[in-house]
């Protein structure tokens, strides 16, 4: 039954784009119909996923598509169920948001039907990836997802930058897909077949297991935006329409994480601490690099995209801890790391979805992408501002919201490092794990700085341009979409213990371990290892904050006179203008100075000397470019290498038929010689 619901969710999503057809030119109605179907698909996915996860189901099915000897195998189990819920929630929110948001695109020069069709297939592809139970259907679904999202990235293709971003995205998606295919190839060779059941049964030697793991890491890591392959992500995610950006950053990255978890935990099924160490290093590097680059961005959606790299890094850091503990014979701690990573993946889907939708609302009403031109939106768009604030607090890992819970769990896992005992390698691990915890602590603090900048410059202060000063609040549907995700952020932050209890079927499925201690003290207390080791009571924290607010209201607010409003303090000079506020670039300047080696900074100041005797300059030009090392050191050299190789090979193509005939003749001779040599041997 649950599997039928899951099929239905895919089907409804796939055909949702066609729902616009019967309405012809009545665009509003057409959009309603499309998003209604998409919302239905999201709701169905949530229902199917929650059912599978809650009951710990494992249902298999077969679709009569694909190769004659290999029909598409489908399986809905606790892991797919978890990701079904994740995808469903964000899809539901995006489809509440969509109708209002797309008014923007009504008079666009492009047919909006393409957007609808591609969105539907994109969502269907993601749902199908999670359900696939053999390599063939997995790759087909994966490609559907990638190609459909390419169409979404290049939707506004009249801008050259978007076309370039789209091409880069497509390229990286396929390089990644190739690596995934190779990982499946290794697994299939040992398992004797392409279904996941056969692959899981295969007995891999440690060497080949590591090869498969490396390919899976490269493929899924490229899609998830791990450092140093991340440079495509901040180009591609921000240029899509915002509800699609929310789906790409919020959900598609999680599908990559799903793939990685499925292949590593479900198919390879062997754990080595060396793999975990690699993930730990990559995760910590991604988290730090992502947040440092995010701080320096002035474009709101680019900032959010870089912050996605940070969060994927945190997820991989948790997975790394999990593999280290599993590889050293600590299954309970390994499970704790996995739970922390998956919890963070879910949290990131919620708050990044929320933030991208909020950014879309701001861009729709102000037609500005650049933070330097925003300001004071809290007064013009109060509800959007409130919801964006929830997302900002959650992503900055502050209690009592959800981002804090998952980072807390990751810290708790890392702090168990002293239990590793014996051998030289455990001494190395014992000292490296605290370093990863330090990186995580630094990441959290920098993320708070980053989102104070984003929120403070965009929503607080005074409007920096005229059209921003005239922004209006967005429609109720758009607010409902954001509110759904904000509610999720609060719920997962305040009630972590039931959430972890609900993940028990998942950990039982993958590792045959549960976390009995985590939920032993009742729903109020979260005690991942034991109550004496660490405990956190999010409900009581939330209650206490509410209590202080209520007391403050009773004590002060009700009795006090209404406040008096006066001009802000201007040091007695008068005439404060909006241009005197701190800018986004200015806010990030201390960080730029402290962490200078993290970026390639090109800063130029040109002064034109003035005519007067004091030498006061007539004009000052300041240009600042903060460039990504990954782009400069990885992408550009590889691109140059490929071009050079292509030029060399291109020399063969002389354009003369005689030369080509000589090539054929020489090839024939060489083959004959080879044949002769083989025969002689």
């Amino acid at each position: 039954m649950a599997l039928t619901l899951a099929y239905l969710a895919i089907l409804v999503a796939a055909v949702s784009g066609l729902a616009a057809l019967p309405f012809g030119t009545r665009r509003r109605l057409a959009q309603r119909a499309v998003f209604l179907l998409l919302a239905a698909s999201g709701a169905l996915a949530i229902a199917a996923g929650a059912w599978a996860l809650g009951a710990g189901l494992e249902q298999r099915g077969e679709i009569a598509l694909g190769l004659p000897w290999l029909h598409w195998q489908m399986r809905l189990d606790a892991l797919s169920g978890f990701f079904y819920v994740l995808i469903g929630v964000v899809v539901l929110a995006a489809s509440l948001y969509g109708p209002g948001y797309l008014r923007e695109y009504e008079r666009a020069p492009r047919p909006i039907a393409v957007l609808h069709l591609a969105t539907g297939i994109f969502v269907a592809g993601m749902l199908l990836v999670v359900l696939a139970d053999d390599a063939l259907s997995f790759m087909i679904a994966w490609e559907l997802m990638s190609v459909a999202s390419y169409l979404l990235v290049t939707f506004e293709h009249e801008r050259g930058a978007n076309r370039r971003a789209g091409f880069l995205y497509l390229l990286m998606a396929h390089v990644g897909a190739l690596a995934i295919l190779l990982a499946f190839g290794v697994l299939a060779a040992f398992g004797g077949g392409f279904t996941f059941a056969q692959m899981a049964a295969g007995e891999l030697t440690p060497l080949w297991a590591t090869v498969a793991f490396a390919f899976a890491l490269a493929g899924f890591g490229a899609k998830a935006g791990l450092v140093p392959l991340h440079a495509w992500l901040p180009e591609a995610h921000p240029v899509a329409p915002s509800h699609v950006s929310a789906l790409m950053s919020g959900v598609m990255l999680k599908v990559a994480i799903y793939g990685f978890v499925r292949v590593t935990y479900g198919l390879i099924g062997q754990y080595y601490w060396g793999w975990g160490l690699l993930l730990l290093v990559l995760g910590a590097a991604s988290a730090l690099a992502g947040v440092l680059y995010a701080i320096q961005q002035n474009e709101l959606k680019r900032l959010l995209a870089y912050s996605s790299i940070e969060n994927v890094g945190i997820v991989f850091l948790g997975l790394g801890l999990s593999l280290i503990f599993l590889g050293t014979g600590q299954p309970v701690l390994g499970t704790l790391g996995l739970v922390a990573a998956l919890y963070h993946a879910f949290n990131h889907a919620l708050f990044k979805g929320l933030l991208f939708l909020g950014a879309g609302a701001v861009i729709m009403r102000t037609h500005e992408r650049d933070l330097e031109h925003m300001g004071g939106l809290i007064r013009r768009m109060p509800v959007t501002a409130g919801l964006f604030l929830v997302g900002s607090i959650a992503i900055s890992a502050l209690p009592p919201f959800n981002g804090f819970v998952s980072e807390w769990l990751t810290f708790q896992t890392a702090l168990r490092a002293p239990v590793l005992d014996g051998g030289v390698e455990t001494a190395v691990l014992r000292s490296l794990i605290p370093l990863a915890a330090a990186a995580l602590a630094l990441t959290g603090a920098l993320a708070a700085a980053c989102f104070i900048k984003a929120y403070g410059i965009a929503f607080l202060g005074r409007p920096r341009t005229r059209h921003v000063a005239r922004a209006r609040e967005v429609s109720r549907g758009m607010l409902a979409g954001m509110a759904l995700l904000a509610g999720g952020c609060l719920l997962l932050g305040v009630l972590p213990t039931p959430v972890i209890a609900a993940l028990a079927p998942l950990t039982r499925l993958l590792l045959d371990v549960q976390l009995p201690q985590a939920t032993a003290s009742g729903w109020l207390w979260l005690t991942p290892v034991a109550p004496s080791v660490a405990s956190y009571s999010a409900p009581l924290v939330a209650f206490a904050i509410a209590l202080v607010f209520a007391l403050g209201y009773v004590l002060f607010k009700r009795r006090a006179k209404p406040p008096r409003y006066t001009p802000a303090w201007d040091c007695g000079f008068g005439g404060l203008t909006a241009r005197m506020q701190y800018s986004s670039t200015g806010f990030a300047m201390p960080m730029r100075r402290v962490f200078a080696p993290a970026w390639r900074i090109e800063e130029r100041v040109e002064t034109t000397p003035g005519p007067d005797a004091l030498g006061r300059p007539r004009a000052i030009r300041h240009a600042l470019h903060v460039l990504d090392w990954s782009w400069l050191k990885a992408y550009v050299p590889i691109g140059r290498l490929v071009l050079a190789a292509a030029r060399r090979i291109g020399a063969l193509q002389a354009g003369s038929i005689h030369t080509y005939l000589v090539y054929s003749f020489v090839t024939l001779l060489v083959l004959l010689v080879v044949q002769w040599l083989v025969g002689a041997a």
Partner: protein, 323 residues
Amino acid sequence: MTAHAFLVWALALVQALALAAAAPLLAGWIKRVKCASQNRAAPPLWQPYRDLAKLLRKEVVLAENASWLFRAAPYVVFAATLLAAAAVPVFAVDLPTAAIADVIVIAGFFALARFFTALAGLDIGTAFGGMGSAREMMVGALAEPAMLMAVFTLAMTANSTNVATVVDYVLNAGLVLRPSFLFALLALAMVAVAETGRIPVDNPATHLELTMLHEAMILEYTGRHLALIEWASQIKLAIYAVLVANLFLPWGIAQELAPAALGLGVLAVAAKLAALGAVLVVWETVLAKMRLFRVPQFLGFAFLLALLGVLTFVVLETAGVNA
């Protein structure tokens, strides 16, 4: 809920409120010792209470474009600081509020308070507020990991992140000189100086210096809002002092809930805070305020010390620690 449980919760509440209530006294004490050491006439010990009472009575004056966030921020800051106060064992160890929040959550509360103060600094749209916020976030971003690493050293040694359990562990382990603790103590003390806005990182006594951090962010606050923020920063100072005192020198703290032990606990913590206050005065008197971009070096050093503490522990001292 049994009578005993009720009593324990009530005692925990009393402990938190007592810390909050005594925090201005610590500020007054520090000011008094400072004046005495610098040969100045000192204000009375209860001057901070008078200031708070005056501010609470006064009318609130807001800047013209202050938003709801600006008005809500003082309450959030105060609530977060109060919660942190509730999670720290002050004069008794085994109280249930300590289980609500472990040391990572306490750091989270401080981060939450900082988050809202920094946002409030940006809300009015003056250069002062933005400058304060940007610099405070730089200091905070470097101080928070250093603090977490320092407490992780203790947490790994005691096999727990709950402050009460760590205090219990140190008490029961007896007087053992651990090099890792020494590193952690130094690091935590340096972080505490930075986080509470004292010299050499920030100067709490000035509103005029261009390099000020905390005071720049709250420049536009008046009346009860300012009172709450000032009070919260006094509580924060007291919490850091209690953390340093009770984590590294917990002796005297009440381990059972008998009146005599509790009385001794109160006296012990008061004596320790008075001594720490005097140390802070000496520190602030002999040092000058640093240039802003020297602060990262100061905090980087603290972070390095904390990291050394962790590494010393995991490399040298792990024998005998088991799951």
